[in-house]
């Protein structure tokens, strides 16, 4: 085996391989998947000199620890966290040279949910339908990391970026999601529509890569009956019978039978991926561009 690899010493709560996902297969029931905080994934790739579609690691809440098998450049971004090599602190949000055999530890996120680990050369597990992303809804792509697993890396292509630290947005104290109403806003009462765009919801701890679940006022339907299954987009705000909105994230199902009250702008979903349970959420109605 090539020595371009890292061993996983501590997989963390949920660490997955992610790239830009596999859009274009929704008609076969294949979710798009991909990094939830796409700008953070793109940034760590840029910091280590990778192309934007290279595969990185996405950690959840408590980071992970890796042992490189060769000297390599890494960068950690997304949520701020403590990064150490053999116990000594190193830079977060900047390229770091790590020696073979040392222990790179990515600590718990300070305040958000997901950190991203860019490894020069990118992770080169076998792609599925053109993507190396782990899709937790349908099980496509590599399984989540486990302690002791080994990830193969590609060759370092270009020198890494020369920066001391790259600025990144802080996790949201309040999550403001801009939303265009529809296509099924007519399934809800005027009161429910008002509540949706004026009341405050909270991020639920049941949130995951499939959807950001919320707690708060129940949105009442104006009609009974079932909606026939229809195609779903990234950012769709689906309202199940209990009335609590769910914002669809990267691993969302491609079709669904609950009415979509509105759609969150894609650029706002990176912040949604970093909002810890209990974060207040407001949906602000905006006009279609």
């Amino acid at each position: 085996m090539s020595d371009r690899a890292v061993s996983v010493v501590r997989a963390g709560a949920l660490t997955t391989v992610q790239d830009r996902g596999r859009p274009g297969h929704a008609h076969l029931g294949v979710p798009r998947s991909g990094a939830l905080d796409a700008p953070a994934a793109a940034l760590v790739n840029r910091l280590v000199g990778n192309p934007p579609d290279a595969a990185v690691l996405e950690t959840t809440l408590n980071g992970c620890a890796l042992r490189p098998r060769s000297d390599m450049t890494v960068a950690v971004g997304g949520e701020p966290c403590r990064v150490t090599v053999d116990g000594r602190p190193v830079a977060w949000g900047a390229p770091v040279r790590v020696r073979a055999g040392t222990l790179l530890d990515i600590g718990p996120a300070d305040s958000g949910v997901r950190t991203y680990v860019g490894l020069a050369g990118g992770i080169i597990v076998e792609p599925v339908l053109g993507s190396r992303s782990t899709d937790l809804l349908s099980g496509l792509g590599p399984p989540p990391l486990t302690d002791g697993s080994v990830l193969p890396l590609g060759r370092e292509l270009v020198p890494h970026a020369r920066v001391d630290v790259a600025p990144q947005p802080a996790p949201p104290a309040e999550l403001v999601l801009r939303v265009t109403l529809g296509p099924r806003d007519d399934w809800f009462t005027p009161d429910a529509l008002r509540a949706f765009t004026s009341r405050t919801f909270l991020v639920s701890s049941a949130s995951n890569r499939i959807g950001l679940r919320t707690e708060g006022p129940a949105l009442e339907r104006a009609r009974s009956g079932e909606l026939a299954s229809e195609g779903m987009v990234l950012g769709a705000v689906q309202v199940p019978p209990a009335g609590r909105p769910v914002v669809f994230l990267a691993d969302h199902p491609t079709t669904g039978g609950y009415p979509v009250i509105g759609v969150v702008r894609a650029v706002d979903l990176a912040a949604a991926a970093q909002a810890v349970p209990g974060t207040p959420v407001r949906f602000v109605a905006v006009r279609r561009r």
Partner: protein, 214 residues
């Protein structure tokens, strides 16, 4: 054909039609337009009575075009039907027979005598919603979904037949099982069934297809 076009977010459209057959026809027409370079859409997702177009550069203009256009009926598919070998041995066979008001053997005969089409996919990679049974054979979902349905289970719900590509929870009525591989991402194409595919179920004896020599 009456078409209602609903905007979805900033760059998608949901086209709503009067029936599943119309949705199938529009889907075929949209694929034709995309193949001819007349339509730029990242995703074209048919469903029960809608077609979703996602990743559009100018959804406003396309919405007016679609609202004004006439959709020809779907052309018949040239390709042969995919044959799925089946054992009618599902645990809900008796319940389905009771719903249909026929003996269990008759469920197998009716089901295997029907030509199905994949109306759309969803739920899991490679899971197709197959139409073809007359409306009198609609069955409800199970009141309590199973937590684990084995891969290869052939099942009914509402107007649809489906085959579970892998083990998963499910609420459909299980009438049989198959060894066919519905999804294999190492295969091209990965999905055995895609929207528009014609399908027949071929009953198997314990040793292979009934009447077969292999």
């Amino acid at each position: 054909m009456s078409v209602r076009v609903l905007p979805v977010g900033d760059d998608a459209l949901l086209v709503e039609l009067a029936s599943g057959a119309e949705a199938e026809a529009l889907h075929a027409e949209l694929l034709r337009r995309r193949a001819a370079g007349l339509l730029g859409a990242r995703e074209i997702v048919p469903a029960a009575r809608t077609v979703l177009l996602d990743g559009l550069s100018d959804p406003g203009r396309l919405a007016s075009e679609l609202a004004a256009s006439d959709v020809p009926p779907a052309p018949p598919r040239e390709q042969a039907a995919v044959e799925i070998p089946i054992r009618y041995d599902g645990p809900d066979l008796a319940e389905v027979a009771a719903h249909w008001g026929v003996p269990e053997e008759e469920v197998a005969r009716i089901h295997a005598g029907t030509e199905f089409r994949v109306a759309f996919c969803g739920f899991a990679p490679g899971f197709g919603y197959l139409t073809g049974l007359p409306p009198r054979y609609d069955v409800p979902r199970r009141a309590t979904p199973r937590t684990a349905v084995p891969a290869g289970s052939v099942a009914l719900a509402g107007p649809y037949t489906g085959v579970y590509p892998r083990a998963s929870p499910g609420g459909w009525q299980l009438i049989g099982s198959t060894d066919a591989v519905l999804w294999d991402h190492a295969r091209v194409p990965a999905a055995l069934l895609s929207p528009g595919t014609r399908v027949r179920f071929v009953p198997m004896g314990p040793a292979g297809p009934v009447g077969g020599t292999s």
